[in-house]
Subunit: 188 residues, 2 copies
């Protein structure tokens, strides 16, 4: 009995989180109202507060996502650019996940809390993943520019939706960006 209620509350909690990510990703923090999030989740607005305490804590919970970069240790350097762009763009391309990644990039622009989250995620996951493939020294030399380029593609494609970058199939996009990534690795 208690188990049933617990399961049900788990589902409610996840429904709230899913709806919150959708709204935060689409409209940013301020314009996303608890009422609208609750409506999307088909529950009462007061439940959002009951489950997450406040709008700000709900936002924090929504920001808790992963790049899910694989371990690149041992990847041959000529395959690294392709691996980087493929795995880096994957969480954005994959729409089964309702905008939890776009959320970070979008909100980091006007919300310091989200920005700190994104910086830390890039520092811990992206840079570390790179270090496994390139070693500490070269990863430090290349990491910044690589991050800027990949962030640029993501911002242009998923946030700003600027053509032609926003319209290309992901494979064509990768082809277009690969030469630059190779250059960075070669010159770093």
């Amino acid at each position: 009995m208690a188990q049933l209620l617990t399961r049900r509350s788990q589902r409610t909690r996840e429904a709230i989180l899913r709806a919150a990510r959708m709204h935060f990703a689409a409209d940013g923090y301020q314009r996303s109202t608890i009422r609208a999030i609750a409506a999307t989740a088909s529950i009462d607005p007061s439940l959002v507060i009951r489950y997450f305490g406040s709008k700000e804590r709900l936002f924090d919970a929504s920001l808790d996502v992963d790049l899910e970069l694989p371990d690149l240790t041992g990847t041959p350097e000529e395959l690294l650019p392709q691996a980087l762009i493929t795995h880096f763009l994957a969480p954005w391309e994959n729409d089964s996940d309702e905008g939890s990644m776009r959320l970070l990039l979008r909100c980091a622009a006007t919300n310091e809390r989200a920005a700190e989250h994104l910086r830390q995620m890039l520092h811990e996951q992206f840079t570390d993943s790179l270090r496994g493939a390139l070693g500490a020294e070269r990863a430090a030399a290349c990491g910044g520019v690589l991050a800027a380029q990949l962030l640029g593609v993501a911002y242009t494609r998923y946030v700003l939706r600027l053509r032609p970058i926003a319209d290309l199939p992901v494979a064509a996009l990768a082809e277009l960006v690969l030469p630059s990534l190779r250059t960075v690795l070669a010159s770093g």
Copy 2:
């Protein structure tokens, strides 16, 4: 007499616009309140409405900025990457201008009106400037990736403030990005 009043109202109008750009650039559209903008401009909140009609029209006026890219027609191709990065980053580096450029990049992430403004500015000014130097065909082939890369640097440095890109002197940053820009021009 009428002239004196007109000049004074001109100053007031400009003070409001300057304060608005500061707040919009720092906090985005929603979190920037008319009251706070008026306080920064040292005037009464109702004057903001009187001068600009509404918060939204004030926002539109704040978005009306220029990349001020020079005419690149005839620029030798080996000098083009350096010219691009220098002139593209200039309006962001120049802090005499109180964040009117950062405003665009930041707000475009969560405000469709700002996004449309930025897209149009890039389309009209950046792409056209490139067309003068490369011709229509090659400008179309290279423009997208170049825009993504430069936007990536700008987003990383001025909006996200991710190190090391955010901390580098602008000359060192240009050196770091130049190889990639050359590669794009060479492969486009």
